[in-house]
Point group: C3
């Protein structure tokens, strides 16, 4: 289990270019190790993340620098969905703009009930168009558009109802509930989870029939994994499975 | 109105290959008859369906057999969406893995408030990748992913809020409410419903402008149906329409 | 701020061809003027809109006329999403069929708590296939399908939970809450909002990676706008931004 903690509360955990680069590195480190099973992203202080560092986005830095910032940001957000382990956001406070995009990009997201979520870029003349890629794919269109056009925050409860969050709990239980979900994920076989996560991302971008064709093949491949067969045998024999956590086929 | 009842409660209504084949046959029988207007799928016993029969998925059966199981399963699930009459799931109990996929695949789904829904395959080393095709298109992504990664069941109420179900009622009213919806569907013209159901599936897989082009043509075709004109005339004349339930055009 | 009021309550604000044409004209008038920042669509009387005028859809008018009706309707609905200013629906009453489609097509939608939403075409032999294009992209599939197959109305609260509405308020506060949201939108820079709205529609029709590529470029373009830089400078200098509302780049 890897914990990544946004650790610049004085700057409201702004996703500066260096913060994004360090996040990318933290996510990628040993990501292919059989020992890594889940990543939790949380933050120090009352703001989960306020999004991009606006001081980096003035005309002084110039178009090329701006391009690099958004390119790196998109890399981090898509990386979260593409790495072979689930990434859990644990939010205790305010998540705005690219900070809200980060929450939307995680596979699972828990928040304390005092947390709020907003895309207020429109108020500072920078419409949250890249956050909208993640948020527009997490919540219904009209929810996303009202957030984008008005900048008005939504509560943790609204975020839960609309699909931005997986679970909302009182602040004092946030850590324990997050760890409980992380433990459940760690209790599963790593290659099985990796196969399933990749298959999910792939099939969701396909039409229904292509999705069934690709997912059906994944099921058969999953059954050929040593851990796939171990799980089924353990179930039939009414015992706990013993995972190898390795990408090995039954007949390898 | 056709009732299909999963009838192997001793095996938790597992979707074995033979159960899937029989389901496919039950759905297809006389599916083009003007007398068939709606199909209801329900189950005997406290488990709606526990999904695939794991005993069929051991390495003893081999890759070819596994492929056939998932191919048949995808056929049944897509058939439900492609037949010309609405298919209603009536769930009273636990629906897991491919059993949950079956609920997600139906056009309308009612459940008693004690029912629960889960994709626990990850716990037995077989990630619910094919159930995810149907569930990921029914509920928000993060809801689907938490179900898939943790295997934790969601309640009927959560399933309703997130779009997996159309209605949740107390157990004692489940049958009556389901029949009431089925009766409403039977009160409509069969070719009108068939045209609309097919158009819905098609346009949802298209981009917005192509969707409007195809759906607009469907509206014009619908108006050319004898039952389309009968409905509008009846409305204008303030009387009940008398449907032919046949695919006939006004000028045929 | 432009108010468009459906003003034929005696005919339940039916979207006749002439009503659709006048709606199209109202939306397009001066739509490129820097002074226009938001459009509000509301209605006189207890019915927001009952949808198409069925008297225009009898076989007497013929296929060509029907085609023109649905073509014009699709134009209006897509225009709402494509014009450079947000369009807000303010609903106080019943919105059915193409009337419900109109609500689903707006960027933001508020309704009084007594409002209801339905697609009852199936009951008069005309399945709501074109309304389904907008509604199927606003709410979960099963919610859309139950509405389409049964024609049963959903409440404003259900519409809110499922994403058809942005906000539900008591009737006496509907006007004030709608104007408050409209004012917020008017407080933002017009070219920033226009860029963001167009980017949202575009990226939502793309795959994730293409969406990030196009949205990232939009962010950089937004930063090159005079109003983009003014907003960021104002934020850093802790003052209110002064928008030009004009499409001008910093280095123009």
């Amino acid at each position: 289990m890897r914990r990544i903690i946004l650790n610049n509360p004085r700057k409201r955990n702004a996703l500066s270019l260096s913060m994004l680069e360090s996040l990318r590195e933290d996510i990628l480190t040993d990501v292919d190790s059989p020992d890594l099973r889940v990543i939790i992203i949380s933050a120090e202080g009352p703001v989960f993340s306020s999004g991009h560092d606006l001081k980096e986005l003035t005309s002084a830095q110039g178009r090329e620098y701006h391009t690099r910032v958004f390119h790196t940001c998109a890399q981090v957000m898509t990386l979260i969905q593409d790495v072979p382990v689930p990434v859990i956001a644990m939010v205790n406070g305010v998540a705005t703009a690219a900070g809200c995009q980060l929450v939307a990009s995680c596979d699972v997201a828990l928040a304390s009930d005092k947390s709020t979520f907003a895309t207020p870029g429109v108020n500072v003349g920078l419409f949250c168009s890249t956050p909208a890629v993640a948020i527009g794919r997490a919540v219904p269109r009209k929810v996303a558009m009202e957030m984008l056009f008005t900048g008005t925050p939504i509560s943790a409860h609204e975020a839960l109802v609309h699909g931005l969050l997986s679970k909302v709990v009182p602040e004092e239980r946030l850590e324990a509930e997050t760890l409980a979900i992380a433990q459940r994920v760690c209790g599963a076989s790593r290659p099985v989870v990796a196969l399933g996560k990749a298959a999910f991302q792939r099939q969701m971008s396909q039409g229904r029939d292509a999705a069934y064709a690709s997912a059906s093949k994944v099921m058969v491949d999953n059954l050929a994994l040593r851990d796939g067969q171990e799980g089924i045998r353990a179930f039939i024999e009414k015992r706990k499975p013993v995972w190898s956590h390795r990408v090995e086929n039954v007949h390898d």
